[in-house]
Structure formats: structure tokens, C-alpha cells
């Protein structure tokens, strides 16, 4: 394999993973505040459909992304409302919404199946795009990809470098302590969940408007579930979550490349299509397995390294906060 092919592959992994990145970052944001939005896969489907439909009818990409974000935010606000106000189980609500959104996308998406529509235009960064290797990977992309990189950094910065971010962490870890320090726990949970949902919706539109153009039945092929797994894999940390998303994207394109290797000619293509999912399960097992924990806790150094890799869920994830 020559360097050029490697560079091109990396560039396409970066681009093709961007919907997953948006979904992972959005979900991380909500879960950091303590609310699991399990409806991710449905949200992505529905917003991908709506994004494409709006782009198809209006030919306006801004409107398309905006509509998709609105869909994501609306679904998330149902999750937040039912959890915070109605005190329903987040998992149950999320699951029902997944089904509902998937069916809605099929129903309303029917007129748009396999229609050619607009796509996000390529936008090389002037100057930066000409830097060898780096320029090709990072700066010879489109606006959505640049935005995905920006969102990773911005969310990381917000959570770990600002006072509201510190408060966000405390709300997800120990809401009673956050409340004692003056935070309006439930209002903030609502805001972060809805904001996260909007990011997920943006990712959905990115999928149908440039990663896999157009609309078809169950168009986004399960990346919502992968996003939920990647959030865990990333230990609820935006940068590690993004890396998880890129690893999944890398696995997918590797399996694509493997198909063209003559030695694997007899292997059915389904194996290559499902391999990344299986590998993801293995990866998840590795990061969330007690036996492996115990293995690494043998020496203080390996324990430290392992713990920094591992990340624990926010202490109050999925629980309801009520003032006494």
C-alpha cells in the first residue's frame, strides 16, 4: 500500500465517521448531565430522513441541517421531559422512541427513496489544504467535517475547562451536591439533553447529505446503537469518544479494503459488513470487564494507566433528582 492510499483512507475515515462523531458527542453531553437518551438510533434515522427531505424539496442545505437538528432536539426533549417531569424510566422511553422514530422515518420517507438530491459541497481550506499529508487528511474536506472536529474540541473545552462545565459534571455525578451549591439541576439536565439531541440530529443529516447520499429503508444502518456503545467505550469523555468513533470508522473501511484482497475472495461480503460491529463488542468487553480490571490492578502503574483509559459512568446516570 503506498502512502497516498493510506492518506486517502484516513481522510475518508475522518469524513465518513463524522455523523457518528456528532451522535457520540451529543449523547456524551446528555449522559454527562445524567440522562441517557437511548432513542439515538431512531433519532438519527428520522433526522437523516427529514434532513434529506428538506434538502430535496427546498434545495437549501442550511434549512436541511436546521430541520434535522430540530428533530433531534424534539425527540431529546421528550426523553428529558418524561424523565425529569414524569419520572418515567429513561431506558423504556428511549426504547419506545427508537421504534417510533424508525417507523416514522420509513412512513414519511417513502416519497424520497432512491431519489438523487443535493449533497454537502466539498470545501478545501485554502492554503491549509496544501500541507502534505496533514492537509490532505484534515483540510481537504467539507464544512460538516470541519464542524465535527470543532464540536469535539468545543465540548471537551466546555466540560473540562469552564465553570458551567464543572457544574455539568457535578450534576451528572452527584446532583444533590450540585443542588447544594446552587445549581438548578433539572433545568440544566433538560438543556444539555436537548442540546445533545440537536447534535445527534445534525449527525443524522450529515449521514444522508454526504456520507451515504439520499434516503432508503433503514438508511443509517444502526449507527445509533454503535454511538451508544462508543460513548461507553470512550468513558464518557468527548475526545476518547471521538477516537472510538474513528476506530469504528477505520474498522469499517478496513473491512471494505479487505474485500478487495484476492485471498479473501471466497469470504461472503456480509462477514465484512458485520465484522466492525463484532469487533466493537469485543472492544466494549475489554473496557468494561471486571476480570480485566483485576488483571490490570496488579501493579500501581498498570492500574493508573488502565483507570485513565477506562472512565466510569457519571455517578447519577439514569436517576431522577428530587429536592427533599
Amino acid at each position: 500500500m503506498d502512502t497516498n492510499l493510506i492518506v486517502l483512507t484516513l481522510a475518508s475515515v475522518l469524513a465518513d465517521s463524522s455523523p457518528l462523531v456528532f451522535a457520540v458527542i451529543g449523547e456524551t453531553l446528555g449522559e454527562k448531565a445524567g440522562i441517557t437518551n437511548l432513542s439515538l438510533d431512531g433519532t438519527i434515522l428520522l433526522s437523516a430522513m427529514v434532513g434529506f427531505a428538506v434538502a430535496f424539496t427546498t434545495d437549501n442545505l442550511y434549512l436541511a441541517f436546521l430541520a434535522a437538528m430540530l428533530v433531534g432536539a424534539s425527540v431529546a426533549s421528550i426523553v428529558a421531559f418524561s424523565s425529569i417531569v414524569l419520572k418515567l424510566d429513561q431506558i423504556a422511553v428511549g426504547f419506545v422512541l427508537t421504534m417510533l422514530c424508525a417507523d416514522l422515518s420509513t412512513f414519511f420517507g417513502n416519497p424520497y427513496v432512491r431519489k438523487p438530491g443535493p449533497a454537502v459541497p466539498h470545501l478545501a481550506m485554502p492554503g491549509l489544504g496544501e500541507i502534505p499529508v496533514i492537509g490532505k487528511i484534515f483540510f481537504d474536506q467539507n464544512a460538516v467535517v470541519y464542524l465535527s472536529l470543532l464540536v469535539i474540541l468545543a465540548v471537551w473545552w466546555w466540560i473540562y475547562k469552564t465553570q458551567p462545565g464543572l457544574q455539568l459534571q457535578s450534576i451528572g455525578e452527584r446532583p444533590a451536591a450540585a443542588f447544594a451549591r446552587g445549581a438548578n439541576v433539572n433545568a440544566q439536565r433538560f438543556v444539555y439533553t436537548v442540546l445533545g439531541g440537536a447534535l445527534v440530529g445534525f449527525g443524522g443529516a450529515a449521514y444522508s447529505l454526504f456520507v451515504k447520499l439520499g434516503w432508503s429503508y433503514h438508511h443509517t444502518s444502526g449507527i445509533g446503537w454503535i454511538a451508544l456503545a462508543v460513548v461507553i467505550f470512550g468513558g464518557w469523555h468527548p475526545i476518547r469518544g471521538a477516537i472510538g468513533a474513528y476506530i469504528f470508522g477505520g474498522l469499517q473501511s478496513l473491512s471494505g479494503l479487505a474485500q478487495s484482497v484476492p485471498a479473501f475472495a471466497n469470504v461472503p461480503t456480509q462477514v465484512f459488513q458485520t465484522a466492525p460491529f463484532a469487533l466493537m463488542i469485543v472492544a466494549l468487553l475489554l473496557v468494561s470487564n471486571q476480570a480485566i480490571d483485576r488483571f490490570f490492578s496488579g501493579s500501581p502503574i498498570s492500574r493508573k494507566v488502565w483507570q485513565s483509559l477506562r472512565g466510569a459512568p457519571p455517578g447519577a446516570l439514569g436517576t431522577v433528582f428530587e429536592q427533599e
Partner: protein
């Protein structure tokens, strides 16, 4: 700050947790709030610090009536509370915890906060590393963090809810020193406790609560007899135990080592004979639970030998321990001992060891009714266990243990119970002992250990001391051993 409570009332459903409470606390003093578990102390303090709303009454600070909607408002007016279980965010660093709740710009001035934290810590001689995660601290250090945090936010009244539970003796000494220093500097300190000795050591004035009411107030000099009288309404003399001649060895441990992922306690050697009571003392989590679970056959020991009634039990399944008459009473009543969601009858059915397929519900209900009467449980056969109070849950757990036990392993058998239930539980246990059971129990209450144990095993810092004779040990000695002195 001078503080007045006037006719405070608070109900939780049918419970009148605070009933017409009125008293005054002078500025710059250490004021004790004494009462049994459930007396309503925490409720009153949570009202004062804005965590819960009162149903009626008035609170005055320096003569002005105040109304807090939440803890942040209370702190703004100078009232800060340290909770029994420190209310901080364990995964975050000390500095982050210190910063939380401050009014800052979007990006905090971390170096200024760090300097603040260090100045304040130095003032009280605290050793707090700003970058250490709070999860790695002891309860005592977490209290220190809360003290400096609340002071930096302008607290003038500091409430300490049961601060001496779960900290070591040296930390307690340090805490008391700090409280005196704070009072000297003009802070008003409210010290909430159910421990007579602590109130006696520290407080200039003590208000005693019982069943939600103020039953009295004493000012230095006062005697502990006065406090006991107020707290319980009568004085309990420690009763002489009926002497029981120890019988055959029931439990023999030889050079046993128990461990989990964070703690390893080697070299435990012990022989417990029928009719003996052995107390396991130590700070919570020093290995008492590990030992009890190993003896119950729930966790395998790392090394050494366990014999029960002469037979080697290593690598035997839990069933084999049960068959030899071992019973284990866990501390988590609802988490480990009982099944929330099931009622008492169902529990008695589950506890029976039988091969029948079908349940005879009538017989089961009668059986349950008989046991409920016998063990004085306030509930009926159809009561779900989670609806029972702590004392009644404990009674139910005891009722579920078979009568012919040879070895009883009890984790905190009376934790959180009121004095009446505590006495009742011990009466039951002493009866079992008369019938020849050997008892191992852990407790955080030194008085309980000293009162009931024939011998005492002290756990401290990953080690176990030679068993002490219960009769020859003083509270002072025991406290020092637990705190790691002379072990």
C-alpha cells in the same frame, strides 16, 4: 451569628419529625444537638440550611427572620451544613470541589482558587492536596474540605451532622480542635450527635431532642447522667450478663487471610467456642465484613484454614456452611438480607428449606403470623418488607434465621435502630447464646462492643490484633487500637 428557632414544625407523612421546636443559639459558641436516631436532628438542620422547607415556624438570624428556598440561599446568608455523608463530588479533584458553586467567570481563575484553598487549609493545619480526587480521601479529610469550602463562601454558622461517625480517633481530635478554633474566631457551631461523650467533650450548651420535640437544654457544667436522663427519659445501668461457660469450639481460624481488590488482612487466628460472643471492632471497611463473609462461606479466603465444628470448610459451598448451622446477617437489610417487593409471608416461605413444589398459603400465613407475634414485628403477613421501619426489618431478619444455629455472623446488628429495638435485638442474641450459639458481630459503636463482647478482635490498617478480653478492655484502649495506636 445569633440563631433562633421559633415553633418549627415538620411532617413527613404521618411522622411529626419536628414538633414545635424553639430554642436559641448564641454567636461564637459550640452548641450540641443531642438525640437518638430518628429524634429529628437532621431534619431540623436541613430546614436551617435550606435543604427542606418547614411546615410552620420561624428562623431568625441576628434577630432577622429569614426564609431560604435552597441551600445556596442559606449559604449566601452565612449558614452552611456538613452532612453526615459529606455532600461533595467524589470523582472530581479537591480544587474542582472547592470551585463548585462559586461565582466565577466562564473560565475560572484556578490559581487564585488554589491559593485561597491553601491559605485556608494552612490556617487550620489541614493537609489537602488540591489535585487529589476526593474519592481518594478519608471521611475526615472530606470534612476538612467542606469546612474550608464553606468558610471561603462566607459561612458564619457551621452545622456538623454526626461528624464523628466514620472518622479515626486522631481525626476526631483534630476535628474538635478545629471546631474550638472556629468558635474562637466567632463562628457559631452546631454539633449534631447521638454520642453523649462527644457532646460532653465539646459543647458549651446542649439541646436534647426526643421524638421531634425539645426535651431539655443544659449549659456547662453538666454531667453525662443529666444528658442520659434527657435523652432516654431514664438511666440505663449496664446490666450484668449471665455468665455462660464456653463449650466446644465452633469456629476455628488458622492463619486465615481474607482480601478483596483493595484490602488484604492476613494472619487471623481465632477460636470461638459455643456460647461466646466476639466483637469485631474497627473503622468501617477494615476487613470485618470480609472476615464475616469468609466464615459464612460467601467469599473464599485467600489463605489459611476455616474449621466449623471441627470440620475443615475451605472450598466448601455455601450450602455446606448452612448445613453446619452457620447464619449470616448482612448490614444491608434491604439490599442483601431481604427481598424488597416481597411480603413477610413470602420471606418465611423462602427461608424454609423444603422440597415441596406447591406452597400451602394458609399454613404459611399462620406460620408468618406466629413469627411476627413472637418477634414483635410491627407489620402483618402481607406487609412488604420495604414498608417496615429499620428496627422491624431487623426483627424480621432475625425471625428468618433458623433457631438451631451454631454460629451467628452479624454485621452491624443494631445499626440505625432506636434504643428499644437495640435492646430487644440483644436480648434475642443473648438467648441464642444461652442455647449454645457462638456469635461474631461487627459494630461501629464501641460501647456496644464493650458491653456485649467476651472477646474483641480489633481491625486496623490491614491488621488484626490479638483478641482482647472484653471485661479487661477500656473504651480508651479500644479507641486507640482502632485509631492505629499500639497495634
Amino acid at each position: 451569628m445569633r440563631l433562633e428557632f421559633q415553633h418549627i414544625h415538620k411532617h413527613f407523612g404521618a411522622v411529626h419529625a419536628n414538633n414545635d421546636i424553639s430554642f436559641t443559639i448564641e454567636a461564637g459558641t459550640i452548641h450540641g444537638l443531642l438525640g437518638e436516631n430518628g429524634a429529628g436532628k437532621s431534619t431540623l438542620m436541613k430546614i436551617l440550611s435550606g435543604f427542606i422547607r418547614r411546615d410552620a415556624g420561624e428562623i431568625r438570624l441576628d434577630g432577622h427572620a429569614v426564609e431560604f428556598k435552597n441551600p445556596a440561599e442559606a449559604l449566601h446568608l452565612g449558614v452552611g451544613m456538613l452532612h453526615q455523608d459529606p455532600l461533595d463530588v467524589p470523582p472530581l479533584s479537591i480544587l474542582d470541589n472547592f470551585l463548585l458553586g462559586r461565582q466565577t467567570r466562564l473560565i475560572q481563575d484556578r490559581s487564585a482558587a488554589r491559593a485561597d484553598l491553601q491559605t485556608l487549609s494552612q490556617r487550620f493545619g489541614f493537609d489537602l492536596d488540591p489535585d487529589a480526587p476526593v474519592a481518594s480521601l478519608t471521611v475526615g479529610e472530606r470534612q476538612q474540605l467542606e469546612i474550608v469550602r464553606l468558610l471561603s463562601r462566607g459561612a458564619r454558622v457551621l452545622i456538623f451532622d454526626e461528624p464523628t461517625t466514620g472518622i479515626s480517633l486522631p481525626q476526631k481530635v483534630k476535628l474538635f480542635e478545629t471546631l474550638r478554633l472556629l468558635a474562637q474566631q466567632g463562628m457559631t457551631i452546631i454539633f449534631v450527635t447521638h454520642k453523649l461523650a462527644d457532646a460532653e467533650d465539646l459543647c458549651e450548651q446542649v439541646t436534647v431532642l426526643r421524638l421531634g420535640r425539645v426535651v431539655g437544654q443544659v449549659t456547662r457544667p453538666f454531667t453525662s447522667a443529666q444528658l442520659v436522663q434527657l435523652m432516654f427519659g431514664q438511666t440505663f445501668a449496664t446490666r450484668e450478663r449471665a455468665a455462660v461457660a464456653p463449650g466446644e469450639p465452633v469456629l476455628e481460624l488458622r492463619d486465615l487471610c481474607v482480601a478483596d481488590y483493595r484490602l488484604r488482612v492476613p494472619h487471623i487466628t481465632l477460636t470461638a467456642r459455643a456460647g461466646e460472643i466476639i466483637g469485631l471492632a474497627g473503622i468501617e471497611g477494615s476487613g470485618q465484613r470480609l472476615l464475616l463473609r469468609a466464615c459464612a462461606g460467601l467469599d473464599a479466603p485467600v489463605a489459611g484454614e476455616i474449621r466449623i465444628a471441627g470440620a475443615k470448610m475451605n472450598r466448601q459451598p455455601y450450602r455446606a456452611f448452612l448445613a453446619r448451622g452457620v447464619g449470616y446477617l448482612p448490614a444491608g437489610r434491604l439490599e442483601e438480607g431481604l427481598v424488597a417487593g416481597l411480603n413477610l409471608t413470602e420471606h418465611f416461605i423462602l427461608a424454609r428449606r423444603t422440597r415441596e413444589w406447591l406452597v400451602n398459603w394458609n399454613a404459611a400465613q399462620n406460620h408468618a403470623r406466629a413469627r411476627i407475634a413472637e418477634f414483635n414485628i410491627r407489620g402483618d403477613p402481607a406487609s412488604r418488607v420495604e414498608s417496615l421501619s429499620g428496627g422491624n426489618q431487623q426483627r424480621a431478619l432475625l425471625a428468618l434465621l433458623p433457631l438451631d444455629l451454631k454460629l451467628m455472623l452479624l454485621e452491624h446488628p443494631t445499626r440505625g435502630l432506636d434504643i428499644e429495638s437495640t435492646l430487644w435485638v440483644w436480648q434475642q442474641l443473648l438467648e441464642r447464646r444461652q442455647r449454645g450459639a457462638a456469635i461474631l458481630f461487627s459494630s461501629a459503636d464501641l460501647d456496644e462492643i464493650l458491653e456485649y463482647s467476651d472477646r474483641i478482635l480489633v481491625f486496623s490498617g490491614g491488621r488484626v490484633a490479638q483478641a482482647l478480653e472484653g471485661r479487661e478492655t477500656s473504651a480508651q484502649q479500644l479507641g486507640e487500637l482502632i485509631g492505629g495506636k499500639g497495634l
